[in-house]
């Protein structure tokens, strides 16, 4: 370790390749930050007043008011029912759509049409879909059920299509080689490979539906979300706090259940 003419400065190589490029990225980020914040018309005074209001809101939320537990329970049950029924509908309807969207099974035009449907359906948030169903079927859980069912169909079909596309080609060829027809191929070579994963996906979707069932009510599509939304608009914050706690408990429970079942299936 003889002291030599060694440099005394070292800078870590940049994540973005060159140092100049890194600086450019940092400057761009800063400009974006300034631009975005300035276009948001954030009123500093109002934002600061928000802190005081937050404290006030918090104080009014505590203690949570569970005295109207019947209303709470009704909303929760409705959410759960919507989630369950929507998952069932989703599972049933996703099978044909999933097969149609699998590149290795469906004819090209069918495949493209199914994919287009899936891409479009996935883009729109559940709340947007819900508002349309509310317009079509009126306020209440039916609109919520249809919303969740629709997004479940889209989601499950996408997952199913991907699982089908990932099946090993060997068994399909083998069954086809026996002279089996289309549905026989599906039943004998695709189903056994796809089924275990699909059951897992369906359970995951049930869990996701429980979570989403809490929000479709915002636009009047039933469930606990409607109760929550109403309590907020009436400044009924202690009841809202009780609802929020119940939602957190239900969602956490649903996630725990879904994780458990899925690890058991694996």
């Amino acid at each position: 370790m003889s002291a030599g003419p060694y440099p005394t400065v070292w800078r870590a190589p940049s994540f973005f390749g060159t140092r100049a490029r890194q600086q450019a990225v940092v400057i761009a980020a800063l400009i974006y930050l300034i631009w975005s914040v300035s276009t948001l018309h954030i009123d500093a005074r109002r934002a600061l007043a928000g802190f005081a209001r937050a404290a006030d809101l918090f104080a009014r939320m505590i203690p949570p008011d569970f005295s109207r537990w019947e209303l709470l329970l009704k909303g929760m049950t409705e959410s759960l029912q919507m989630a369950l029924a929507a998952t069932l509908a989703g599972v049933l309807l996703s099978i044909p759509l999933g097969i149609a969207a699998a590149r290795n099974l469906a004819p090209r035009p069918v495949y493209l049409a199914a994919r287009a449907l899936i891409v479009t359906g996935r883009t729109f948030h559940e709340v947007i879909i819900a508002i349309f169903f509310v317009k079509l079927f009126g306020f209440g859980p039916v609109a919520g059920l249809l919303t969740l069912a629709l997004s479940s169909v889209i989601f499950l079909a996408k997952m199913l299509a991907e699982d089908i596309e990932n099946v090993r080609a060997g068994p399909i060829e083998a069954v086809r080689a026996t002279g089996a027809g289309f549905w026989q191929v599906v039943v004998y070579s695709v189903v056994p490979q796809v089924l275990p994963r699909s059951v897992g996906t369906a359970i995951y979707r049930l869990d996701a539906n429980v979570r989403h069932s809490t929000i479709v009510g915002i636009v009047g599509a039933g469930g606990i979300g409607q109760t929550l939304s109403a309590s907020f608009s009436r400044y009924d914050y202690d009841f809202a706090a009780a609802i929020l706690l119940a939602i957190i408990a239900l969602v956490a429970l649903g996630e725990w259940f879904s994780d458990r079942v899925r690890t058991k299936l694996r």
Partner: protein
């Protein structure tokens, strides 16, 4: 740094560089990995710790810098008993102990330079380590160290782009950047091919001599141990079964440590080793 060897020499007259006394480690499951291990290092030397798997070699080395908490006993590094140190003082003590690992244990996504400089973490602030702004002297030393371990020019390579031998060189450089009073080396060659293994052992030995740093090396390969160590400590079921100079390592001793086997092929003279290398 030039004055360091003299200091260490004078100190060794008064007290050992490292003194381990009745060190015992019982794992939560009840396994007695170390059972009253005692030995002392009085001068800068390379000590090979041999023994079969499960004999406690790795536990011994990890107890010395307390990566594994000892159950009882004492470890004196100079005047400090490492076993009794609180968290803050333990960090101070660890700065004085360099460690080299079997699996190199580099931070793979960081550059070679960052890995080498991480040997200086004990003496820089959190902010400096976060922004990677190390003192000028450390940076110059790191470049010199890269040169010394044969990795000049690779400072900006990512650690995961290196070969096994190169990675271990980075590991050695990181340990020596600490300017340690003691080197702990855990199976440095077990993940390397035989030729690279010898090169790495030679490098460790040379650097230990240059810094007059005692080195405690866990090693599986008895022939390598004989080739590069001054002294051998044999562990058997958590106890010291042998402690003596390399020359005293006989087939009888090896049979005691590892069990019956024909050891005549394994034992070779050091001169033989060097010429064959």
């Amino acid at each position: 740094m030039a004055a360091a060897p003299e200091e260490k020499q004078t100190e060794s007259l008064e007290r050992p560089l490292l003194a381990i006394d009745s060190l015992t480690k019982v794992y939560p499951g009840g396994t007695r990995a170390l059972d009253g291990v005692s030995f002392a290092i009085r001068r800068p030397e390379v000590i090979a710790v041999i023994g079969s798997s499960g004999a406690g070699k790795s536990t011994l080395i990890r107890c010395i810098n307390r990566l594994v908490e000892p159950t009882s006993g004492s470890i004196l590094l100079g005047a400090t008993d490492i076993v009794r140190l609180g968290a803050k003082d333990l960090r101070q003590a660890r700065r004085r102990i360099g460690m080299i690992f079997q699996e190199f244990n580099l931070v793979e996504r960081l550059t070679v330079m960052e890995n080498i400089l991480s040997g200086r973490l004990g003496s820089v602030s959190f902010l400096a380590s976060f922004t990677r702004r190390y003192p000028a002297a450390d940076v110059a030393n790191a470049y010199a160290m890269l040169d010394r371990v044969g990795l000049a020019g690779l400072h900006d390579s990512r650690a995961d782009a290196l070969s096994g031998g190169q990675r271990q060189r980075v590991g050695i450089g990181r340990a020596l950047m600490q300017n340690p009073d003691l080197l702990l080396v855990d199976e440095p060659t077990a993940s390397l091919d035989p030729k690279t293994a010898r090169q790495i052992m030679r490098l460790i030995r040379a650097l230990a001599e240059e810094g007059a740093t005692p080195a405690l090396v866990n090693i599986h390969d008895v022939a390598l141990a004989q080739g590069f160590a001054d002294r051998i400590i044999g562990l058997k079921a958590g106890k010291v079964a042998f402690d003596g100079p390399v020359a005293e390592l006989t087939p009888a001793v090896l049979t005691d440590i590892y069990g019956a086997e024909d050891w005549s092929q394994t034992i070779r003279r050091e001169s033989e080793e060097e010429t064959s290398a």
